[in-house]
Symmetry: C3
Subunit: 366 residues, 3 copies
């Protein structure tokens, strides 16, 4: 675990808690006599954090690790603090009702320190159309391309080799890592974080059978809709969000997409919905607010999922879901030969049920 800051750069614990975005979050020393003047150089897990780092307990099952922890300070709930056996611990205790959230905010604080050192300004190798609008404080990295009519909101930063297509718009304070691609006519809100290799606005997959091209021939349906993305959205590496056929594909505010996700044309994703990696959403499906979609799950096209639906990883959703809750459909794995024996029966289930019914009739059980 690297210590992030040089000692002279490190804030005191008191300063750190004041400077991190903790407004509205309760956090205070467990023991008013303990000194919050200690300098904090980094952030680590309970077992790895050193004597000038801060750590946190968010998972109650790790409570025992508090006995060994060598950190300068540990964030925990009042409940966890009370459960701590009497003893002499090397760390100060920061009480907080949401230790995981406070950890997130401290990690942001340390990372912001790194982000602030990034180069600013427009790199001379970037190619920016005359008609593009760059608001105040925009940074454009090496070898970027910003096409005609594009607009970059104030404070937005493009890493190396990003492409912002014609008439596309990025809001304020967006962060595009290297090699992000926006096709033309893609609208992104404020504070987006877009990771390398993600592609927004490629053509949706639409073809009409065209017998004039011979049996099986296809005519491309040009995709003339766009992509509209709300504020505070994060999109992972190599994820693709296709443009709509006629209307827009939309992601609501606060949507979080992990890597290698596929969002097809005309999909609508509600606010604050989060999807783990490798999820595929087929065309024209609508997903509610605050849903979570587990890794490698797939949703068929033209479905509607209600708000607060939670899909387990690896599950195929093939029909609409109107009731909030958790839904699963994963084949249980087993040692290969066991699986073979059981899978062989799987294709005879309908027959098995018939035989069971016949037996029940014979025995008078039904």
């Amino acid at each position: 675990m690297p210590v992030l800051l040089a000692p002279e750069q490190a804030p005191t614990l008191h300063e750190l808690l004041a400077e991190a975005n903790t407004v509205g979050l309760d956090c205070k020393p467990a023991d008013t006599s303990s000194s919050f003047a200690i300098r904090i150089r980094g952030l680590g897990s309970l077992l790895s954090a050193g004597q000038d780092e801060i750590s946190f307990l968010s998972n109650p099952r790790l409570h025992d690790q508090l006995l060994q922890c060598q950190a300068a300070a540990v964030i925990m709930t009042e409940e966890a603090y009370r459960a701590l056996p009497q003893g002499d611990y090397p760390y100060r205790v920061v009480l907080c009702s949401q230790p995981y959230l406070l950890y997130a905010l401290l990690a942001q604080w340390f990372d912001q320190h790194r982000l602030e050192r990034l180069e600013h300004g427009i790199h001379p190798s970037a190619i920016i159309a005359d008609s593009a609008v760059l608001e105040e404080g925009v940074s454009v990295g090496p070898h970027c391309v910003v096409e005609a009519g594009a607009r970059l909101g104030a404070g937005t930063r493009l890493g190396p080799m990003c492409v912002v297509g014609a008439n596309s718009v990025l809001g304020r304070d967006c962060l595009l890592h290297a090699r992000v691609t926006l096709y033309h006519g893609v609208i992104v809100g404020d504070r987006a974080i877009l990771h390398s290799g993600c592609v927004l606005g490629a053509d949706g997959f639409g073809f009409a059978p065209d017998p004039r091209q011979g049996t099986g021939g296809w005519a491309k349906i040009a995709q003339i809709g766009g992509v509209v993305i709300g504020d505070d959205v994060e999109i992972g590496a190599n994820t693709t969000v296709d443009r709509g056929a006629l209307e827009n594909t939309t992601l609501g505010n606060g949507v979080k997409l992990d890597n290698q996700i596929m969002v097809a044309h005309n999909v609508q994703v509600g606010d604050h919905t989060a999807m783990a990696a490798c999820v595929g959403i087929a065309g024209s499906t609508t997903i509610g607010k605050r849903c979570t979609i587990g890794g490698a799950a797939m949703l068929s096209g033209h479905l509607t999922l209600a708000d607060d639906v939670h899909v387990s990883g690896g599950t195929a959703i093939t029909s609409s879901i109107s009731k909030p809750g958790r839904y699963t459909g994963v084949y249980p794995y087993a040692e290969h030969t066991d699986w073979q024996h059981n899978a062989a029966v799987l294709t005879q289930l309908a027959q098995l049920r018939r035989r069971l019914k016949a037996l029940e009739k014979t025995s008078g059980n039904r």
Copy 2:
């Protein structure tokens, strides 16, 4: 729904139908008295198209929407037209036996208008080897790299940051969006559309156990085959098609691949086969003509699929298929606790069948 063209640019309905690629397609006014001189500025769905846009009915289940549609014109079949209740509709009716195909062609027409405004020529930041051949009318976008011995056919356009590797060939009138990568020795036919982030010709995944490197060590099998792709192929964003080990990986004419598909080394895909997003095809598998592979389906290696095979989304194909038809293997999802109860039994199916047999013996049912 954006209106695409300014009024003065908009064609009349008559011109639009004449200029779109409608040769061989029947389409005519339902009512010869209606004026096809009206100007059409765009294309929309039945419910969104405005009074200067054209729409279409291709799905009979949407027939009721014809009653509310405010478009300037609607494409429909003669059958749908006859089923329309008497009344005063604001739109002209265009009769066509294939409304979905006609919609596709009109969308192409409107999109072509946008494409024609793209910048042409060789961008000065592009790096093009002396030995590369660029035929007439080729466009190369900013920061592209075209390596030695590569050839770009007449009218082919490269978006920003494309790489065409040594001795690779693109046919005529291809359109490469930003950030397409062709390794060396990749041959692509005419009129290909390649989307951002797709990678053609990366090494297939081949290793031979090499005990000289210690237990578990692997020796790389250098992949010395290529990739050969037919005419009229479209390949989606972030899709990968690996080069062959010794021979070529091939995609036939008119093949359409959606985003994030993986085509492994030595795979052969027949003409007009279409695959939805996130499909994986393992090495040396051969797929017939006019197949469709649903999203997130996976095919094992060394299989042969006949022509006209349709694989449902999410299905794992683990053996060859010689008979045309539709094949499926998807675990049905359920509420999580229901799934848990049923999945627990799944691993006991072989035992259940034995018990059923024993009962049948006892009862004399078999």
Copy 3:
């Protein structure tokens, strides 16, 4: 099958076997009278190799193809050679106990010939930070970006448009194809092969619920760990390996990852483990040494897999595995209507088991 070398460049069979990396590998003429002075221009399969190419038999099931093979030389085991019917074959026989490994080494030899012709040096369009360190013999392709504090080991080659983030390190003799992205603080060992579009070090997917942002709001957990990759690793096209939350995501020595794989934050992969395409590994999972993970398999988070575990393609691993062996969980596909009938029963399995128990009670079978 292209003949790779011009006749005057082609080595004799004797030279080829001597120059390929065959130290420690037994290989010798089957018949000392046959001439190993013949020139070998390329490498092909048994049925495609021509009269100046070498081929190999590694799969005993292809033994019959030896009867038709027209190659200049064929590598086979002593056993296969003895099973060859008497006759006059056009090829010399090279005996080797590991024909597949020898084939791999010869393919490397021929491909190395191509690699040696690649351009060397630092392309003038590359943008390299002053504080970056480039050791002896490094090549950097057009439009690359090497950020502050990065280090490229001796002999390492970057294809076009690669990004090496701040303070990232590549070992000696690495080969990065076009458009590889390393974020900041990514450490890669010697002899890595990284394919186009792969992204190392993007942020892991971590968010803490933040009620201050409204119901469902998320606070980003900045990912301050890194990625550490051993020696002799190959990573496929468009694969993503995320950086750790606090610690590092690690890949051991000799790990081989195919295309479009997702390795989430904090994952640990043991030496020589190989994964086929489209695999997803969720966060904080640890995989042992010498494992193989089949295509499109997925592993849940926070699991531990022992050494020598083999997961079949398409399998979802949802719990830890402590015993070496092969594990599978794939829904068997069937014709669509058969699947429908059987899948309908799948959601009633628990009920079926109850009915069977009741019958057994009635009949006195249990």
